[in-house]
Symmetry: C2
Subunit: 282 residues, 2 copies
């Protein structure tokens, strides 16, 4: 099921700048029993991204309705309790070359997909991760935004096919650890939780923001810093987050093993509760 | 006029990875009286790009025929002596997330467009250029390739609307001058011609390659170097190149004026001759 500017469709104008330049943004939303999870956060980040890239106009009210309608319809049609909604917003069609045309109208694409079948032990026993060779370019003007220029992630994810490895961590060109190919990164050392600064590279994920909020709400010291590989390997606890998985503990990074500590379990509990509450409020 | 995998179409499957991740390449080709100019060079660079991104399979023979057919048909239909063919190659559709699916089939898109109406004085009297604030991220694994991740160029080109400025020069994050938003850069100091190294950022344009070839063929010393803004402003001659414009002299960069020297005129002459010969050979 797919909507382009509110119309059922499965094809896009070839002239769309999303295809020609990756001139747009996207977000991926968990759907529980027909309800999009943390939808307001996702729309909020899309709005920030559109402001950063100066993409407009977007009928946000209409987009909200489209996401909710598609989620409901899919639930009624399939009876699947879990699904995924993907929103893509592009600057729209046209323009001679890179220069955005003045009369550009943004394209909004809303699609719904089956939830990926991750094994339960990823949440329970943790995952195995590696370091990727592909580096993230430094670019403050794009850092943090979930834009459509994702070749670095594609190249990084193509580095391994071993199904025993669930995620790859990416460094920037200065050698700082930034994120996973599809996740953000947190670790605890002693009494403090750290997560990489995303001012030069990386995507500021919705789940990252929510986990930061929950940590602070529960009185846990949190710092955004520049993270070296050594610092990461010396961590007491390590976990990754995104909007679909929530939180996966990391049990192994390259040859180094981590134990899954009480903080990791606490955050998983807080997340589950927060998600439950946010859905109940709708 | 537009062909997707050889079929007349104007719409693309929304699931194409070119839209979702900018997972692909493109090139822009001048067409003279129905003949694509330097087509072999363009296809050669596309092949290198596909090898770098591991995109396949592509029926190159078929693509060649499509470009030539579309160019001919457009010429017969419109009688326009100049046109532009754009080729986009994407990895194709599908895949869960960033990981490319094993059975991916590349998408080839060939479209033809009117030639942009650049005033003749751009070639004769030169153009005015500025420095852009938007920086190019450093990424050796993507440097040189004309891939579909072009948000940096979109942001840079959106920095100015003053029609008195024809091009903007982009620096990388280390402060080295790399290229124009849509052109490559050459300058002469004394007896040596310089052009920026493109090992960390930038697009290695077809016209750049041809101009380098012509300079060397005519016994002119050429060096690829790291270029500072100061070095550029101290140049004796400065010009930009791409496949549509060929060569434009730069008469002014920010507040600094340049005279158009004999080397610039020589290269323009050599280019015209080379283009004429290459078309005659077809």
């Amino acid at each position: 099921m797919l909507l382009i500017n509110g119309e059922c469709a499965d094809q896009l104008q070839v002239s769309d700048r999303g295809l020609h330049y990756g001139d747009g943004l996207f977000t991926t939303i968990e759907v529980q029993a027909g309800q999009p999870v943390f939808l307001a956060y996702h729309l909020g980040r899309l709005q920030l991204g559109c402001a950063r890239l100066n993409i407009s106009p977007i009928n946000w009210r209409q987009l909200l309705i489209e996401v909710e309608t598609l989620s409901q319809q899919h639930y009624q049609a399939t009876d699947l309790s879990c699904a995924v909604v993907k929103i893509i917003i592009t600057r729209g069609s046209g323009g001679r070359g890179y220069r955005p045309p003045e009369d550009c109208h943004a394209t909004r694409i809303v699609s719904i997909h089956p939830f990926p079948d991750y094994p339960p032990q990823y949440w329970q026993d943790g995952i195995t991760v590696r370091f990727c060779a592909t580096r993230l370019g430094l670019n403050p003007s794009l850092a943090g935004i979930k834009h459509l220029n994702r070749l670095e992630q594609v190249l990084a994810r193509a580095e391994w096919s071993d199904s025993a490895i669930q995620e790859g961590l990416m460094l920037d060109n200065k050698g700082c650890v930034i994120e996973g190919t599809m996740t953000n990164l947190f670790f605890r050392k002693a009494q403090i939780v750290y997560t990489p600064k995303l001012t030069q590279a990386g995507v500021a994920g919705i789940m990252r923001m929510i986990v930061m909020e929950l940590l602070m709400r529960n009185g846990i010291a949190l710092l955004e810093i520049e993270v070296s590989q050594a610092k990461l390997l010396a961590a007491d606890e390590l976990f990754v987050t995104n909007s679909l998985i929530g939180l996966w503990p990391v049990k192994q990074l390259e040859q180094h093993c981590f134990s899954i500590g009480s903080l990791t379990r606490d955050v998983q509990t807080w997340l589950a509760q927060y998600k439950h509450d946010s859905l109940r409020l709708v």
